[in-house]
Amino acid sequence: MIAKRTIPLLLAAIVGFLMLATYFVPETESYGATAMEMFIIISAAAMILGGGNLLKINLAKMSQRRPGWGYAGITLAAFIGTLIIGLFKIGATPTAAVPGHSWAAPIVQEGAPFWWIYQYMIVPLTATMFAMLAFYIASAAFRAFRAKNPEAILLLATAFIVLLGQVYAGYWLTNFLPNLQHLVDILPESDHAFAMIVGTQLEGGAAWWQVNYDGLSFAQFTTLQQEIVINMDASLNDWFWQFLNGLRLENLSDIIGEVPQKAGFRAIVIGIALGVVSTSLKVILGVDRSYLGSE
């Protein structure tokens, strides 16, 4: 009872409170770092448990000739082969820092057998798995993305805006709406570079008297340049211009991410954080003991 329940509970409580204290009491930081080092070692040891479990499950599947036992054999062969090559650094060249000891060579060393496994098996296999998502998403979108109710319509409209806003199509479709480029284009070509640079500063929130160009401040600009800055500032701060500019698909896509999405996600993140705090406290105080398993 003491070994199975009391000691683990005490360990969880001590380490839990210690980690909490490291945020507020600088003197405890080094103890927290030691606890973290222990965690790193234990998590590395957990890989052995994982490997053992993989062996156990797949060997059982093979010995009982359960459906798919051939795949279990391939899994085991790949696991054991990769493990031996990686663990013993087979074919690895010792580094200059530790000559004569291939054990100390980096894991993935160009030309070594482990690198071959990585380059010609892991890379193409994982990239293929990831790339297949595009095909399944397209099929799912065709079959399931229906405007069945107002919520679905909202979702659909948002998806269209974001999908188009992410590519050149969005820019092309709403390029008739005003943007900085339009303000620059109506000026003589000799002023384009100047107007684009000061316009970008104005768009970034600078006031007209704060802009600079080529090391010159507003006061040092020519009268014509000052006039351009003031006119551009007036246009960029006009509410109707801003409204139309905001309707450009690339801007609309950004607004969706920056306003409703950010607000919603912040609420979710804060909610999750509060939940984590309450669950952690339960674990540290020993109220929640489910992680210890059943008696």
């Binding site: 945020y23 930081e29 080094s30 927290g32 770092a33 973290m36 080092e37 965690f39 790193i40 998590s43 590395a44 890989m47 580094t95 200059a96 820092a97 530790v98 100390a104 060579a105 980096p106 894991i107 993935v108 690198w115 990585y118 380059q119 892991i122 890379v123 994982t126 990239a127 798995m129 990831f130 790339a131 595009a134 095909f135 397209a138 099929s139 979108a141 065709f142 079959r143 993305f145 229906r146 405007a147 069945k148 659909l156 998806a159 269209f160 999908l163 188009l164 992410q166 590519v167 050149y168 199509a169 820019y171 690339e250 950004d254 991410g257 920056e258 999405q261 950010k262 996600f265 993140v269």
Partner: protein
């Protein structure tokens, strides 16, 4: 016709998607890329640091996400090299090490004046996820002991005066999930007030928006963000537009080239959704749905 569309075999959709992605790649179709505010913030953050600033680059992704993240990871390395920043590479994913090797290959071939150990170095992979991040804040020497090549950190010139990541001016994180940008924000950037910029997958980007603009100063979201960043990099450092860089194994326009397939694939997706809804409304009108 309606029956065919209603019962459309998904293999037709797969074929359409395959063609939509393959055609722009084969035809090398490219579209103009406009720098977006997010990419400009990330670029300016790195650009405005004094030359030679210490930057930690953590490449926390694996080959599954390299199509999306590799271009921005390489663009970060090139930009830091141009600015002569001191680059400290590491990764929290076991398969992240080869990604760092790609960046170091670029540094070796394109910036031969930069030397390993003086201008850039690689801590390599360390298991332990968040625990590793927490310990980078405490003591890098105790945590890693040696670099990727098993050289003692005490013998590496650029480690002089560097005890923890609190000595870094910026964290750059390329992240495909957990552990990644969220953990760097929670365990390093926020408690220690270290600025961070990130390049993340499209799936992850919305989850990180709540952390903008502090401590996450800016993020490049998916291949679109990478393409915008590449565009700014090319505009500022025009040599990256030269064929030697564009045709390199890790091209300076890799993300821009990938925007072509994305453009057509997105249009196909919209087309399929519209078609699916068209069938749905026809069926509903006829009382079938």
């Amino acid at each position: 016709m309606m029956n065919f569309l209603r019962n459309l075999d998904r293999r037709w959709i797969f074929l359409l998607m395959g063609v939509a992605v393959a055609l722009p790649l084969l035809l090398k179709a490219s579209f103009p890329e406009n720098p977006n505010p997010g990419a400009e913030i990330v670029f300016n953050t790195i650009e405005n640091l004094p030359n030679g600033s210490r930057i930690l680059l953590s490449y926390d992704y694996d080959p599954g996400s390299q199509g999306e993240l590799m271009p921005m990871a390489m663009a970060f390395a090139r930009h830091c090299a141009e600015k002569k920043h001191k680059m400290y590479f590491m990764c929290l994913w076991p398969l992240g090490e080869p990604m760092i090797q790609e960046a170091m290959n670029i540094l070796r071939s394109e910036f031969p004046e930069l030397k390993y150990g003086t201008d850039y170095m690689n801590f390599g992979y360390k298991p332990g996820n968040e625990a590793v991040i927490k310990n980078t804040v405490q003591d890098l020497h105790t945590l890693f002991g040696t670099d990727y090549n098993k050289t003692s950190l005490n013998q590496i010139p650029m480690m002089k005066g560097v005890k923890t990541i609190k000595n870094m001016k910026l964290i750059i994180n390329c992240s495909a999930g957990d552990p990644g940008t969220k953990q760097w924000i929670q365990y390093a950037a926020t408690p220690e007030s270290i600025p961070i910029v990130a390049g993340v997958t499209g799936v992850q980007a919305p989850q990180l928006v709540p952390y903008l603009p502090w401590p996450l100063l800016g993020q490049l979201a998916a291949i679109k963000g990478a393409a915008a960043y590449e565009q700014i990099l090319i505009e500022e450092y025009s040599q990256f537009e030269e064929p030697a860089y564009v045709d390199a194994a890790q091209s300076t326009t890799a993300a821009k080239q990938r925007m072509g397939p994305q453009f057509v694939a997105h249009l196909l997706m919209i087309g399929l959704i519209v078609l699916g809804n068209f069938i749905y409304f026809i069926d509903r009108r006829r009382g079938r749905a």
